[in-house]
Each structure stands twice: as C-alpha cells, then as structure tokens.
Symmetry: C2
Subunit: 319 residues, 2 copies
C-alpha cells in the first residue's frame, strides 16, 4: 500500500547515474573521481524569508537548486550531486509535481543527480545540499585576493532585487525590463561555466557569488583576503535606463539573490578574461582594484574619483 | 563590525581537522581517503513535528546530529563530516550556545567535523547533512537480506516513544525507567560502532536504523530485499516491567525515534554476533527470520506460533 507520504517522496526520485546508490536507503553512496576533492554547500530556503509563500512552485524548485549550485560555481567546482530536505505544511500533489519539475529541470540543465533527501510535515521550507568536484588544491576561494588584483563582476547584479521591489509594489517596472528582472529573481542562473573556466584557465585569485549583495559579498573577499579595495561606480554595469536610478543603484550595490560571480584577478589577465566573456557570451565588468590600506575596507569612488558614502551594507537576515 | 548574525554563526565554527577547508567560504572542501566511498544523508528536524518547541537546546543539538549519524551507522559508514542549516525565529545567544554545546558534544563523541552550514531567520528548524566513509562496495544496504537470514535488533527499541508518551501525559513513568526513556528520546545514541563492526566482520546482509518504528523499518528491509519475514514477539527485548504493557509493546513495535539497528544475518553467524554484543556491551536480540512467501510481508507470531494482528504500521509523517 502506497501512503500519501510515499507518493510525495516518489516525486523526488529519478535516475541517478552519477551515484553508486541513489535515494531509498539510509544514505546515498558517491565517490569522487581520482584526483578530485568535493566541494559541499547547504542552504535553507524558508517561505516568507527567502521566497514569497505564493511563489510559483516550478520556479521555486529551480531556484532551490540553483542558489546552491551558485556556491559551487564560486569555488570553480563542477556540480554533480544534491540532496533535498523539504518541510511541507500540507500535501498538494500538483504543487509538489510542479516543484519537482522545476527542481529536475535545473538538475538536468546543470548535470546534477538528486541522490537523496527527506520529506516531513512542517512550515514550508527546503534545505538543499549540493556537492561538486574540483581538482585537488584548485578550488577558487574567497581568501586569495592579492594586492593590485582587478575586481570583476559578471552579468547584471541588481536585477533580482529590482524584480522583488516590483513584486512588493515598491517600484513599477515595465517591459522589456520586467521580464529579465523577474527571471533573475525567480529562475536564477548559477554561473557554473564561468566558475569552471576561471579555475581551469587559472584566471582568478579569489571568487564569491553575489547572494547577499555586491558590496557585502565583495566585503567577504576583502575580509577573507585581508586586503582593501576601491570600487569604481562608473565601471559597474550600466543601470537599466527605465528604472528609478536611485533604487537601481541600491539594488546593484546591495540587492541580494543575484548569483553573479565577483572575482579578483591579476591585471595581466585582462585580455584573457575579456576573451572568456566573449566565449561565454556573458558580460564581465572590471570594476575595482585591490589596494593596500585597512584590511576589509571597501571604498566606493565616483567617476571624478570622489568617495561615495556607503549606506547599504547588503542583506543581513538578522539585520 | 560584527553583526548579531555573525556572532550566531561564530557559535557554529570550530576547528575542522578532517576537512581541507571548513566553514567560511562558499563551500567546504573534503576528500575521502583512498579506497573509500562517501555515504551521505540529510534530515530535517522541525519544532512541533520532530521535537517539542521547549526542548532543552543542548539535547536538541546532540539529537540533530545523532539522528543523522544513525543513518551512517546503518550503512556501516564511519561518520566524518557534517553541515548544519538552521532557521531561527529570534536570536537568543544563550539558546544558540546551549544548542551548539550539544551539537559539538555529539560531534566530538563521534569524531565528526562540522564543516559548514547556513543560518537564517524563520520558524525553528534544523537540517543536518552527515557524511561518512565506507570502503568501496562494502556499505550495508537495506536491500540485501537473504532467505533464511536471522533478523536482529539492538538495544531496547521503544524507550524513546515511552519517554515521549510520558512527556505528553499519555502515561506516567517512574524511576528507574523514566531516566533511560528520556535519554533515549532526548539524547539518543547512534549505533556507529555496531554498524562498523557488522560491516568489518562481514556479519550482516542488510541493515537499517529504527527511526520510524521497528515494524515500519523492518518493512523497508523486506520491501527493499523482496523477502518476507516472521517476527517472534517472545524473542523481542523484554518489556520494561513497570510500564503499561500494551503501551510498552506498541512503543516497541511502532515507536519512532529509537535509532537502534535492525539487521539480517546468516544463521551461521549467530555465535559471532553474540560475541560482538559482548564486545560492544550492547544487547543484540535475534527476533525473527527471513522467509519466502509474499515479498515485503511481515508476520508477527506469539510464543505459541499464533499470528498477532498488526495494527500499528509505524510512524508516517503524513499518516
């Protein structure tokens, strides 16, 4: 006899060719390839904190995996396996089916096997653990930025926060801007290929993904590496012209949920990084410089070289 | 400047000698020893579903890790690493400090490094992912029970459920029974050494931990292995004499949260298993037999060989 509970669990079980043993036993079994380390990350997504309770379940399924793959991307690791624990207030099979459609669409896109998990009754929340492989000693860390490194950021950070502001009625976006902002918020891409190529080509010293906001996450690189940096506002990605410029800048500097990569690289790598941007069809913006001075300090400079006061420190869940 | 959020996270950061890179970056980095596979499991513990909201935080910290280590034990894996994601409704540093005291006491007891995690605001809930090592191809699985195997169970399943019944006012336990029942509920032991020795000594064909109840979890072995079994009530661990006998039997057969191991083994291993019980100072009860007949079917027999109807199917979160 199949219980309702088992029916739900069955939605989460698909073939796992990359695992030695997939879902259904006490544990999953995996083995990294020879010469590889494992990079592991876990993130909880809570209704009301990380997503609106009425979020489209298919997009939520995608995002639950993608935000964790972003952490693997920031280490230059190739995503391979994931486990999902879910807490559900009630059993709605159509909701679950849509969630798992999104989850497995993301898993398939990035080549990840969902090897195990847990399903329980409780407030709507998910916890995903993602595991990737990276050659021994080659992971991109946040504590390896060097003096005189350039600072780079990928894509268009701020779009997700703009999309959220629109959904919350704090601004009104129109097409063609609305669509990419909602996509960035609801169906983010993890910059896996960028992370892999930065690592493979030896281009980056330090990297992090922009989950808490550009300033906050760049700050983590500076603190981890015990360096300071200057960020040049004029060299950041151009703001969308149809959005409120103050809000757009705020979102770009301090908006969470972006999942772009910020990385530091030696100045002599500029041509190679520009070539990589072309290769990936992903804009990479050289927007800052690692300097000496006070470790961890970040200075924002306008196009005249004047210091811009930093008011927005990025998103702090307990702030 | 250290935010309240960072202070909390700092409680979760201790040395991780077994990891290549511990907490603080986008991912943790680990590498299994040569010839080893990784066994991985994840479990969510939700206030109100898995523990009473006023549970002692130190015991909760212990249990959050122990229940996952139990899954590793059931595979015969040695626990090595864990990641913890926590959702907290408010920041209470003393609560967090007590929780992490319990967590790290358990980690230290079992030799586990807490290599990463996530802290967020939300309803009280934890999700722990535990990772262990097992020699390639040697994991104890639930789908390997063979015809004519004996069925064994460790310790005293049912104590945790009796303890919960006492706390919920459904029964009244007195000392000396109360203490071990509360300990089983609140500070369970994972049978890691038992799992390791069963695997090392080649004693078990199939194994599972009793998290959902003896009948339910034994049922998973039978379904996974496509065999049937007879369970002999008279050969189960003696019930505590000072407890309501009907409740005590119900707890023994269907109580969750026990974390004993159930395993199947060839009859010629009986002497070795008895010797192992002595070695571990842990009672091991030979209480059943794998038979042919309908796959997945479990028959309960009394001391006269009469069939006992099974009413309690074990704990189903959506039941």
């Amino acid at each position: 006899m199949t219980s309702e509970f088992e029916l739900i669990r069955n939605h989460f079980v698909r073939p796992t060719p990359q695992a030695i043993l997939g879902p259904g036993d006490d544990c999953a079994l995996i083995a990294p390839a020879l010469g590889m380390q494992l990079a592991i990350t876990t993130d909880m997504l809570i209704a009301g904190t990380h997503f609106l309770p009425d979020t489209d379940p298919c997009q939520l399924g995608w995002k639950t995996l993608a935000v964790n793959l972003s952490d693997l991307a920031a280490m230059g690791a190739r995503p391979r396996w994931a486990l999902l624990a879910g807490s559900l207030p009630e059993v709605s099979e159509p909701w679950i089916a849509a969630f798992t459609d999104g989850l497995f669409a993301c898993a398939s896109y990035y080549g990840v096997d969902i090897i195990g998990g847990d399903t329980t009754r409780g407030p709507l929340a998910f916890c995903l653990t993602a595991i990737g492989e990276v050659p021994i000693g080659m992971a991109l860390r946040r504590d390896q930025a060097l003096l005189d490194d350039d600072l780079w950021v990928s894509g268009q950070p701020g779009l997700a926060a703009l999309g959220l502001a629109h959904l919350q009625g704090r601004t009104v976006l129109a097409e063609p801007l609305l669509k990419p902002c909602l996509a960035a918020l609801q169906r983010p891409l993890a910059r896996v290929e960028l992370g892999l190529e930065l690592r493979r080509r030896g281009l980056a010293h330090a990297a992090i993904d922009v989950s808490d906001g550009l300033l906050a996450d760049l700050g983590h690189i500076l603190q981890g590496s015990a360096v300071a940096a200057e960020l040049f506002v004029a060299q950041l990605p151009p703001l969308p012209t149809t959005a409120d410029p103050v809000l757009a800048r705020q979102c770009q500097l301090a908006g969470g949920d972006d999942y772009e990569l910020v990385f530091s690289a030696a100045p002599e790598k500029r041509a190679e990084i520009t070539a990589l941007a072309d290769h990936l069809a992903l804009p990479l913006w050289r927007c800052g410089l690692v300097v000496g001075a006070a470790p961890g300090q970040l200075t924002l400079l306008d196009d005249q070289g004047r210091v811009v006061p930093i008011n927005e420190k990025g998103y702090d869940h307990f702030g």
